[in-house]
């Protein structure tokens, strides 16, 4: 029953769904290349007549809009881009490293407690707004507020359950006998895992790393409450542009939004086949 072709009605439904899915993406891309005169035109302009990259330039050089007679942004996005890259890359690396050891530990030597995944899942449910409250208090006492170290510490803590569980599902897929053979050959358990287990799950390791990067790069609320003047990330900067200049700098905001989503869409397509596993803590493989 599953081998039939699409009926004409189904083809139409599919086409409509595709338009609905892609239109918002089309819109943000178009807005990002609109010159200032097209930004807030009424009725809205769908495809700019004179596409330009001036919005992207403005992100790094606030005066680039001068030729259009429009004041630039109050602050460039350079720091936010730098902050996003720093915080996401470092915290992703740490989270995956910690997760890798936990995953091998739980998968190969764990006591198989049925409770652990439920506890981890429950931890995920606590609203970040609530965790943020004690963090802000503790961090302001130890000088970690408005610092990348503080932000990275939170990101590592929040994403480690994800990296652990996703990596564990890859380790579980691997037959135990392969490592045991290496151990019989005389290697210690640690050496066996470093030279056998880890190379064999490198595909999964890559997918997990990319998935954790997506989570860190997307994070908004912790960055919002923990950043004042030293620290910034792209999502925070995007929110700030909306507040500071509501309705006037559409194009520049859209350019920043495109900059924020481009790496994730690329990474997302790369690990497409592992997305379900990541989103469901390894409950769904494929």
């Amino acid at each position: 029953m599953f081998e039939k072709k699409l009926s004409p009605l189904q083809t139409i439904i599919m086409a409509v769904a595709l338009i609905v899915v892609l239109f918002p993406v089309f819109w943000i891309l178009m807005t990002a290349i609109k010159p200032p005169t097209d930004w807030n035109a009424s009725p809205a302009i769908w495809i700019p007549s004179e596409p330009t990259f001036v919005n992207f330039q403005t992100l790094f050089d606030p005066d680039a809009l001068g030729e259009y007679g429009v004041g630039g942004v109050s602050q460039p996005a350079t720091k936010a881009v730098f902050g996003s890259i720093l915080a996401s890359v470092v915290s992703t690396a740490l989270s995956v490293l910690i997760g890798l050891f936990s995953a091998i530990g739980i998968s190969r030597y764990g006591n198989g407690s049925k409770l652990t995944p439920l506890i981890i899942l429950s931890g995920r449910m606590f609203p970040p707004a609530a965790i943020a409250v004690p963090f802000v208090i503790m961090f302001s006492n130890v000088g970690l507020i408005d610092s990348y170290i503080g932000l990275i510490a939170i990101y590592v803590a929040v994403t480690t359950p994800f990296s652990t569980w996703m990596l564990k599902s890859f380790v579980d897929d691997l037959p135990r006998e392969i490592e045991e053979a290496a151990m019989i050959d005389g290697r210690s358990k640690l050496a066996a895992h470093l030279t056998v287990t880890i190379p064999l799950i490198k595909g999964g390791l890559f997918a997990t790393t990319m998935f954790i990067f997506i989570l860190n790069w997307s994070e908004f609320m912790f960055a919002l409450v923990l950043s004042y003047s030293n620290v910034s990330t792209i999502p925070v900067q995007l929110a700030k542009y909306v507040t500071a200049t509501a309705g006037t700098l559409y194009g520049v905001q859209a350019a920043l939004a495109v900059l924020a989503m481009a790496p994730l869409v690329i990474v997302g397509y790369l690990i497409q086949s592992h997305l379900a596993r990541g989103m469901t803590f390894g409950a769904i493989k494929q």
Binding site: P24, A44, Y109, M125, P128, D172, A276, I284
Partner: protein, 314 residues
């Protein structure tokens, strides 16, 4: 499909070459992870729990100077704070509506993807695009789309053939509608992805048997395929419930909870309490109520299928 696999299969205890038991190695390997979760999750939670029984706010100096007020924050929230009550009800309603729509659209699309057509893998990627975009950006995109001179009003005008200048963010109903549209657009792909991988994993023999016994395609789908899909459906719902109950980023970008507090979700309300009004202790109490509520909810959701979920394997 194997929560089961990850949960079962405890190895037999044995000694390693250097004389460490498996238990010891497990502990050593998981130490960094445990340290991180204790330091960065458990400690703050305990601080927050303590705080929720005090009247602390940043103007009152050090945390331990605050006076202990017992369950006052909690009773205030549960009995008097209608804004909190409404935020809870609103988040719950938004969740139910969004998840239902995401499930229906996701399942419909997944079923279409069981058919044969050209460009399937390209279309598959295209349909996953929304879930790869960060929530803040999704909120920003839809904020633009819902502007009164934006494309959504233009399309409505085109369809109705009349002027439509709906001020989406000025009326409570319209703003909630905008939030729901945004959320459904963003996360239907996740349901699609999970349900499609579930459908692809359904074994063919029971379907063949049903067909031979004279079942029509509709009966095969509802009586044979759907029951086998149930664990996957539950997983999708549990994962999405956990996320949507924390709904914040998109609403922050779209409406900031406005107009008034008519689109305020639980997370947004706690955020405003703690970081706009600096009522940190009160916010912490609200957070704990939410945690208890969502724990109960997810365990209720899991309860009827937990055993099934733990046994189903591919």
């Amino acid at each position: 499909m194997s929560i089961s696999q990850s949960l079962s299969g405890a190895p037999e205890p044995s000694k390693s070459k250097i004389g460490l038991s498996n238990g010891a190695i497990a502990r050593i390997f998981t130490v960094p992870g445990q340290v991180v979760s204790v330091l960065v999750l458990v400690v703050p939670l305990l601080v927050a729990l303590y705080m929720s029984f005090t009247d602390w706010s940043p103007t009152r100096g050090a945390l331990f100077d605050a006076s202990f007020i017992g369950f006052e924050n909690y009773s205030e929230l549960l009995i008097w704070d209608t804004r909190f009550t409404y935020a809870v009800i609103r988040t719950f309603l938004i969740s139910v509506i969004c998840l239902s729509l995401e499930f229906v659209f996701g399942l419909g699309l997944a079923v279409l993807f069981l058919r044969k057509f050209r460009g399937k893998s390209l279309l598959f990627s295209a349909f996953l695009t929304p879930m790869m975009i960060l929530p803040v950006v999704v909120g920003y995109i839809f904020w633009m789309l819902f502007q009164s001179n934006g494309p959504i009003n233009q399309v409505i005008e085109f369809v109705l053939g009349a002027d439509a200048t709906i001020q989406w963010f000025r009326s409570a109903t319209a703003a909630i509608f905008a939030v729901i549209v945004t959320e459904v657009w963003h996360w239907t792909p996740l349901f699609f992805l999970i349900l499609l991988s579930g459908l692809n994993a359904v074994p063919e023999n029971p379907i063949r048997a049903a067909v031979i016994l004279g079942a029509n395609p509709r009966q095969v789908f509802w009586r044979v395929v759907m029951p086998m899909l149930k664990p996957v459906i539950i997983v999708a719902f549990v994962i999405r419930s956990m996320e949507i109950i924390k709904l914040f980023d998109e609403v922050f970008m779209l409406t900031r909870g406005g107009p008034g507090s008519s689109t305020e979700t639980i997370s947004l309300y706690i955020y405003k309490l703690a970081f706009n009004d600096f009522q940190l202790a009160y916010g912490a109490a609200a957070a704990f109520l939410v945690l208890i509520g969502s724990l109960l909810l997810v365990h209720l959701l899991l309860a009827p299928v937990r055993d099934q979920l733990l046994e189903v394997d591919r």
